[in-house]
Amino acid sequence: MADSLPLPGTVDLTASVPSRPFVDLMHDWVTTVDHKRLGLMYIAYSLCFLLAAGVEALLIRIQLAIPNNTFVTPEVYNRFFTMHGTTMVFLVGMPILFGFANYLIPLMIGARDMAFPRLNAFGFWMTAFGGILLYYSYIGGDGLYGAGSAPDVGWFAYAPLTARAFSRGHTMDYWALSLIVMGFGTIATAVNIIATALCMRCKGMTLMKMPLLPWLYVVVSFMVLIAVTPLSAAQIMLLIDRYLGGHFFDTQAGGSAVMWMHFFWIFGHPEVYILVLPAFAFANEIIPVFSRKAIFGYPAMVAASVGIGFVSLGVWAHHMFTIGMTPMSNTFFVLSTMLVGIPTGIKIFNWLATIWGGHIRFATPMLFSVAFLFQFLIAGLTGITLAVAPFDWQVHNTYYVVAHFHYVLVGAILFMIFAAFYYWYPKMTGRMMDETLGKWHFWLMLIGFHLTFDFMHIPGILGMPRQIYTYGPDRGWGMWNMIVTVGAFVQAIAVLIFVFNLVRSYFVGKPAGPDPWDAWTLEWSTASPPPVYNFAKLPEVQSRRPLWDLKHPEDPDMNYE
């Protein structure tokens, strides 16, 4: 089998790691500029926050499980959902996806590191510092005299609720500052990814021979540059209002609350695609390998990704159908939103065609990927229903919307992140993750996910707004919320199994070898884990699947591309 495939010149197994004092090791990690270590640090960092925000989600679900619950006070509840949202988007989603990008892109394009290794370290530490700053607000949010505080205005923080008159203390300042700091870190990483993918590809790898993962990350990074910066600008304005007495969002002095909404969603909607495109990228790598077929329609996949990137910049006001825009603006944003469905549909069809006629191997990464296909299909379709503005007038800001975007964020993105863990963990550590635990993780996650987020649509249709800390028993939402809460705990158990598997496999996992999945892209041509320099000799490629060419010299890909 392919495990034994020798790849002379690319694998260097002579590097030995002498044992060294702990402090030295820590020093190495803190000062590292190696893309693999930074990638792992990104991933570890975001896993910590995933657990934190997951606990917040569970506390939210406990509070909502029954009507008129008094498990937490309104203030505490409002902090939970604000921190849960902010954490999941900025401290889990983006860092974990950038972590994989950092780790994988240089390996997949046959480079020794990112274009700017030190900028890479800067980006990571800015992000890390931003996260700590945000969570410090639990301690310092009231200026050290209060009994613990945190932002409590929702993750989109509509003005003027964020003004000094309505948000006293410093929680909003921590929130705004930490998002600015993280924003700069993210922009640094985006610059780095673009420069790496454009300038560091190995010999023979033209742009159209680049694997789809780096391609999608290039699109994501361009979107970060154009979409995250408006958020930073808006946060700067907010801080000018709060600290210097400015009036950008001060409605008493003629400022506009609507302007904040526009600025936030100009960031906020592309952000969804910034998070989901990397999930597509993982699917583009994993689904072909486990179907044993080349990706169907590579150029169409690239074009669809670029198309999604462009269109997603022009749809933001579909978050604002209820603010009283003119019918003309509303119809414009209905149309632009529905148009996103077209490139997205192309992607789903291409994945379907990739599976079609293959020999599907249901290892854990593929299980998660198949679940992703179904769940993303549903998420996309409920997204189409929300694009119908008259329906959105009803369910905007309800649990229907919450269920829809969790279908994307959990059902599509988190599922693909899990798939990516099972798929690339052997490369990162040299050991396989346990398949039996992986299957437990998958099935419990699947059941928990559907219990939670399928049923969560219903209270939305029954009129339950989001961001409410409690509700009366007369509304008929109680039973549905109880089911949702139960599902949330099933998911929590699944995630704990995953974490256990992650840690356990590091010590006792089966040795992986360089190419455990019989895959085709360059990262599998070097040792697992790769040496510091990645490739002893820089590779040269002729097609999109260099290892396929290698394994099938009788029928190489380059004859078809």
Binding site: I187, I194, K537
Partner: protein, 199 residues
């Protein structure tokens, strides 16, 4: 399966000439910065004439023609400097570089003088009204970029005076001058919006 070397004989010409990392990185940064400026410019334009109290731009603003000419011509001088370095004429480079810094400093001085007049004589601050908030934010954001650029330019000048700048640094200096051209180009937008449309 038999051992096959990953390096296969090339049948096609080598990959396209790769762009310089520095240039790509700087262009990306400029793209992101443009989005930040775009947001502030949109806010400025949106709030023109929406202040609930005076003063208005027409009462206060004088068109800063001289400093604008200084800043815009600094784009030209930095280009001369760049050309000189490319040819290896280090002294010419240093001279044009120093002129660029002087021009930038004159521009900043002009902004400082304008703000001093507003704040101490007209008592017009960022708190006064929407015009104040947007004016100081937008012009201040640009001035911040000029300051950052000036610091970097000065650093290069110090290196040049110490004799550390060589011809082979031309590409790196070109990346820096790209940033400077961006700062100048943004001023054209800010100038048009604040001093022409907004007045």
């Amino acid at each position: 399966m038999s051992a096959v070397p990953i390096v296969m004989p090339a049948h096609h010409p080598p990959a396209e000439e790769n762009l310089s990392r520095g240039t790509v990185g700087m262009l990306c940064l400029i793209g992101g910065e443009s989005a930040i400026f775009a947001i502030f410019v949109v806010a400025y334009i949106f709030y023109i004439g929406k202040s609930l109290s005076g003063p208005t731009p027409g009462q206060l603003l004088d068109v800063p023609i001289f400093t604008t000419i200084c800043l815009l011509s600094s784009s030209l001088t930095i280009w001369f400097a760049e050309k000189a370095l490319h040819k290896g004429a280090i002294r010419v480079f240093t001279a044009w570089w120093a002129v660029t810094i002087v021009l930038a400093a004159i521009f900043l001085g002009g902004t400082a003088r304008e703000w001093y007049g507003f704040i101490y004589h007209d008592h017009f601050t960022i708190k006064t009204n929407l015009f104040g908030t947007t004016f100081y934010s937008l012009v201040g954001l640009h001035a911040t970029h000029v300051v950052v650029g000036l610091l970097m330019l000065s650093l290069v000048l110090i290196f040049a005076l110490m004799g550390k700048i060589q011809q082979h640094h031309a590409d790196r200096v070109a990346v820096l001058s790209l940033y400077w051209h961006f700062v100048d180009a943004v001023w054209v937008v800010v100038f048009t919006v604040v001093y022409i449309i907004g007045r």
